[in-house]
């Protein structure tokens, strides 16, 4: 019975993936045909085949790897440093109620501010290279990370904390044995959101100053009206973001499997 169900489930899943792929092909085909018969102006929309040809050119000269690797490096640094620092600050705020009350209005203001407005300042402070762009990425994701992680931390059941205290657990033990592990899934979901935010920071940063990277390609393509270059940049960008998301998903699965079925 169970086997039968899982077979059916797998079939359903396969059907779904096939439909998704056909939807993509249908959309690309529509675009290609539309451009070829003149329904879409190639100058403004380019077309999938030109994007593919261009991609092949960049691939053959290995130039694409230079751009991908620099953007990827900036994004990964932004996510790692920003998430780690954000979680650390959330931890400090959790540990000190007084500090969290003191900083609350400032955090709310910073959160409400569109962080991309800070990008020029970040680049002036940290320079126009990788450092500046990573800082832009961090500035975009760190405040949200702090606020959401802190809220997860303080929303633990009070009785569980009492239980820990009844064993005379100190603050550090309450954190390492209760607060952090019970929020592991939440923290991973924050990191998942940070992937998108870090990419926003990196692209904005590259728009502003860089000489290489996916954001640079898109910006350059836009300035010289090479829409195939812009489209290629966007496609690569979405693929990279998707792959990173799946990697974090995989890490989540491994972590949860390692500690058993308890979530």
């Amino acid at each position: 019975m169970k086997k039968c169900l899982s077979k059916e489930y797998r079939f359903e899943k396969l059907k779904l993936i096939l439909s998704q792929i056909s939807l993509l092909i249908f959309f690309l085909g529509l675009w290609e045909i539309g451009a070829r018969i003149g329904l879409l102006d190639e100058f403004f929309f380019s077309k999938p085949s030109s994007v593919a040809v261009l991609f092949w050119k960049y691939l053959r000269t290995y130039e694409i790897f230079k751009h991908i690797s620099i953007s990827l490096l900036e994004t990964i640094l932004g996510i790692t440093i920003g998430s780690a620092a954000g979680i650390l600050i959330a931890t400090i705020l959790w540990a000190s109620e007084r500090l969290s009350k003191l900083l609350e209005p400032f955090l709310i203001i910073l959160n409400a501010l569109p962080k991309t407005a800070l990008a020029p300042i970040m680049i002036i402070w940290a320079g126009t290279g990788v450092r500046g762009i990573v800082l832009v990425a961090i500035s975009i994701l760190i405040i949200v990370t702090i606020i959401s992680t802190y809220n997860y931390f303080i929303n633990i059941e009070p009785e569980k904390i009492l239980m820990m205290k009844s064993f005379r657990a100190n603050k550090f033990q309450i954190y390492t044995k209760l607060i952090f592990p019970s929020n592991l899934v939440n923290i991973i979901s924050v990191v998942k959101i940070n992937i998108g935010l870090a990419w926003v920071g990196v692209i904005v940063g590259e728009f502003l100053v860089s000489r290489a990277g996916i954001g640079y390609l898109i910006m350059y393509g836009g300035q010289v009206f090479r829409l195939d270059l812009v489209m290629m940049g966007v496609v690569i960008l979405s693929l990279l973001a998707y792959i990173m998301y799946e990697i974090v998903n995989l890490i989540e699965k491994i972590l949860l499997k390692k500690r058993g079925k308890g979530i």
């Binding site: 569980k160 009844s166 044995k177 592990p181 019970s182 079925k261 308890g262």
Partner: protein, 251 residues
């Protein structure tokens, strides 16, 4: 004496002014006895337990406790990501008392109380009654002199409640632990305890203390206790105390 409360008072500062919760509470707990703390809801029973456990400091009086105190709450508070075994040793881990003897003791308790096969399971795979037993073993593992149970069966349905209280009673008696159990269920109080302390409405004082002596042909457990002819007599006494002497309690 395992525990002695001398003139313990407690006031909370609230927006509306001082809230007097406990007013000079006096009682003591003898070795190995189970004492039920009964009173109208909101009378400060949980506050009293938190003071005894050292989680709150009383504003007056003193609490003399011999040795460690174990606290069991309304919910089992098991950590879902830990296995049953890992949950049970949580207290030992916190207090850095994971000695071979203590581990042996935990294993013995898991075996005695029917949880050994489940040691590698997660809490979500266990029934409510079993989870409560795991919570009790976790509390007992650190070797407390006194157990505090705060309405430990309140979240269970009636059937399970009877069975689990039977379970818990036997474990407590077998391990010879002095216990304070807070409850608002009069039958539960009579069936479980050797002594009942009745608290008045807020600010709580000790109104009455009853020694529970039941005539029984068989060994006393919470279920057999309910068959004793004395059971009803105690029930009526408690009922009168709570309802006639404290008439302002509406229903």
């Amino acid at each position: 004496m395992v525990l002695e409360l001398k003139d313990v008072s407690m006031k909370f500062c609230t927006k509306e002014g001082n809230l007097e919760v406990l007013d000079k509470i006096n009682f003591s707990i003898r070795e190995g006895e189970i004492v039920a703390l009964v009173g109208p809801s909101g009378s400060g029973k949980t506050t009293a337990l938190n003071i005894i456990a050292g989680l709150l400091k009383p504003t007056g009086g003193e609490v003399k406790a011999r040795g460690d105190i174990g606290y069991m709450f309304q919910r089992d508070n098991l950590l879902e990501w830990r296995t049953i075994y890992k949950n049970v040793i949580l207290g030992l881990e916190i207090q850095k008392k994971l000695t071979p003897e203590n581990i042996e003791k935990v294993k013995r308790m898991l075996k005695t109380y029917g949880l050994w096969e489940f040691r590698n399971c997660h809490p979500s795979e266990l029934s409510g009654g079993m989870r409560q037993r795991v919570a009790l073993i976790r509390t007992l593992a650190t070797g407390p002199e006194l157990l505090l149970l705060d309405e430990p069966f309140a979240s269970l349905d009636y059937q399970t409640k009877l069975l689990v209280s039977e379970d818990i009673y036997k474990i407590i008696k077998k391990e010879k632990k002095s216990t304070i159990i807070v409850t608002h269920d009069l039958s539960e109080a009579i069936s479980m305890s050797d002594r009942i302390i009745i608290l008045t409405d807020r600010p709580a004082r000790v109104m009455n203390i009853y020694e529970i002596e039941l005539t029984l042909d068989e060994e006393r457990t919470p279920l057999t206790a309910r068959k004793s002819p004395d059971f009803r007599i105690y029930f009526e006494k408690l009922w009168r105390d709570l309802n006639e002497k404290m008439p302002k309690q509406g229903i």
